[in-house]
């Protein structure tokens, strides 16, 4: 199954974030609870961790790029070779845990 990583929320006062650092490469398997990406808000960093294991297939935002809350950051799949859809919005949401630090 194809899944999308979205900017998690809600986060008080935050409407958009900037991608600070990816911690998984395209093609890499991400285990549950692993740190996937750090996002920067106007005053804090948001650590986003995998809610379940998956393969990170395509990053949709590079480090330094902006995205609004709820919008897609990456596509993942349960199996390594699944065909990715043209439209990220059709993918199911990938569960994540996030912490504002």
């Amino acid at each position: 199954m194809i899944r999308q990583l979205r900017v998690p929320g809600p986060i008080a006062d935050v409407e958009e974030v900037r991608v600070l650092q990816w911690h998984a490469a395209e093609g890499e398997r991400v285990e549950a609870d692993a740190l996937v990406v750090e996002l920067e808000t106007h005053k804090a960093v948001v650590e986003v961790r995998a809610g379940r294991a998956a393969w990170l297939r395509r990053r949709l935002c590079a480090e330094g790029e902006w995205q609004v809350l709820g919008a897609p950051l990456a596509l993942l799949s349960d199996d390594a070779a699944e065909t990715l859809p043209e439209d990220a919005a059709t993918a199911a949401e990938w569960p994540v845990a996030f912490e504002v630090i």
């Binding site: 006062d13 409407e15 958009e16 900037r18 106007h42 005053k43 902006w66």
Partner: protein, 333 residues
């Protein structure tokens, strides 16, 4: 800046920090004074990285003593340095008005130009859940002082450009930002650029009514203009950017085209920014219909419901414009 100038999206705090960093590099005499601006990086991270680059002699953490902070900043500026004093909340500028008003703003006049105090007081105005004494917009008080420049940006790009000009100005400047601006991001020009004082900006073109505003209120005012457009009313939004000096020419030209002016501010109405601009624009456009929107005559409450009720918002601004254009509509703002 011309709209086609290459720009990068930045947080509001980053625009502030960049202007400070560039001007610290340009002018070795520039000192920064403020609470938590050193290792902590500023109350909004707006001084981040400056202590590491310029050291504790030029980036000075101060005690909670605003009169002493501004007194020190003004004195050092009069003695040949250039200073920026960060007063975290504008409410706390009150104990520091004596050195700012009686000394800094008057120095060039009383020494026949032999001395000047190139000091910038950077302060954060506005209501955002912090109650009676941490929420006020007092810029109208400062507009009343000859010799004092007052600027109030609404975007990262303007904050960068206006702060650059402030840090090169010959005399005292109060740079007023707003708590609600810090969560914002927006384009900041890649090339070094300063925005001159005294230039308003037309943020939205319109035919029927001019909405004049500054600082954070620019955003609710633009939302009001969008809702007026849905009702068939074309509102022009003029953002002052600089309150002293004031760009009456741009405002009057807009008001002459539309025939109606609504002055919007977050602060109190009596003797406020709106009172001043309404009078001065009417001197240029005598038949002008004018209205003001501002805070209701109460302190800003710690209660979020009462805070919101006391302040202008997009529906109140739009209602004031509709009432001005159609007095018989009978709506109350």
């Amino acid at each position: 800046m011309p709209p086609e100038a290459p720009a990068t999206r930045r947080f509001f705090r980053e625009a502030i920090a960049r202007a400070l960093r560039e001007e610290m590099r340009r002018d070795p005499s520039l000192l920064l004074l403020g609470q938590d601006i050193g290792a902590f990086g500023g109350p909004y991270r707006d001084f981040e990285g400056l202590l590491a680059e310029f050291g504790p002699a030029r980036v000075r953490d101060t005690p909670v003593a605003e009169a002493a902070m501004v007194g020190l900043g003004v004195g050092a500026a009069a003695a040949g340095a250039r200073t920026l004093v960060a007063i975290t909340y504008m409410d706390f500028l009150m104990p520091a008005l004596d050195p700012l008003v009686n000394y800094a703003a008057k120095l060039r006049f009383k020494t026949a130009g032999q001395l000047a105090a190139p000091v910038v007081v950077k302060t954060t105005a506005g209501a955002k859940g912090q109650g009676v004494a941490h929420s006020q917009c007092l810029e109208a008080w400062l507009m009343n002082v000859p010799g004092l420049a007052v600027v109030a940006p609404s975007s990262p790009g303007d904050a960068y450009g206006l702060l650059k000009t402030a840090l090169r100005a010959p005399g005292p400047v109060v740079f007023v930002d707003h708590k609600r601006l810090f969560p914002m991001a927006g384009p900041v020009p890649d090339a070094e650029a300063a925005i001159p004082f005294g230039l308003a900006a037309i943020r939205r073109a319109g035919r029927d009514v001019t909405l004049a505003t500054h600082g954070w209120m620019t955003h609710p005012t633009l939302a009001a203009a969008a809702s007026l457009a849905e009702a068939g009313i074309s509102a022009e939004v003029v953002e002052l950017r600089s309150l002293a000096p004031l760009d009456i020419e741009t405002l009057a030209a807009s008001a002459a085209r539309t025939g109606a002016l609504v002055a919007v501010e977050e602060g109190q109405l009596p003797c406020g920014v709106g009172a001043e601009i309404a009078f001065r624009v009417r001197e240029c456009v005598p038949a002008l219909a004018v209205a003001r929107v501002g805070a209701r005559p109460v302190p800003v409450s710690s209660n979020p419901v009462l805070e919101a009720a006391s302040l202008p918002d997009a529906p109140r601004i739009a209602a004031a414009a509709r009432r001005l254009l159609r007095p018989s509509a009978g709506e109350t703002a």
